[in-house]
């Protein structure tokens, strides 16, 4: 099993507008839009770089330390 990055992106599904900006900017191709409703990171790919959080127009993404 691949080692997970200590930080990862967390999406607030209530705020997310599923515009796809995060998918476009993610250098790891870790973001996906689920059912046209919200963005969700693929945990094994996300390195918590914060590009998605920086670009998200709705400020729906935060980078957090994995629990």
């Amino acid at each position: 099993m691949a080692k997970l990055s200590p930080r990862h992106a967390v999406v607030n599904r209530e705020i997310c507008v599923a515009c796809g900006t995060c998918v476009d900017v993610c250098p790891m191709e870790a973001m996906q839009i689920v059912q046209g409703s919200f963005a969700s990171p693929l945990e094994e790919k996300c390195v918590g770089c914060g590009m998605c959080a920086k670009e998200c127009p709705a400020s729906a993404i935060k980078v957090e330390v994995r629990s």
Binding site: D24, P27, G36, S37
Partner: protein, 191 residues
Amino acid sequence: MKQKRHWYHYLWIWSIIYFSLGFVNILFAWLGLISFCLPLIFAIVGGNKLFCNRYCDRGQFLRVMGSQVGLSLRREMPDWLKGKAFRYGFMIFFFAMFFNIIYVSWLVGSEIQSLQDVVTVLWSLQLPWNWTYSAGVTPWVAQFAFGLYSLMLTSEVIAIVAMLIYKPRSWCVFCPMGTLTQTICKAKFKE
């Protein structure tokens, strides 16, 4: 790491072509219906927002101007602009304006009202656009074109202002089509 470029990243060109064509001949404004129909087809048939995610020419235009050209101030949007009340309110207002265009076109078609060859920006500023109308089509066809071009131009102005002040794709937060298609997708997958 540099992101991969795909053909749809160049769809911003369509925004420029669309508004240029409408400037020359208003009848090209009808092509704006593509931006109304495609997102709905993606959402209703496919249950996704692929149009917003990839194929929206305005989204690509805002990305290029805001991120690549660097015109965006990248401020945080105020919470009320991101809130559901504003998003759904703006969607209702926008579609009310769209149906008003259809109604006015019907009035012109029924010869109750005469053709108004003006483009109205931000629902108040009327720009004379009489050089663009090529005779030869029934007046309601031209009236619908003027109305749709007005709506497209108005929303483009709002989108650009939002891009300049806030993050590049801030328009997407309250885009009426985006709000509608997300609502459709959520309803489709609701258990």
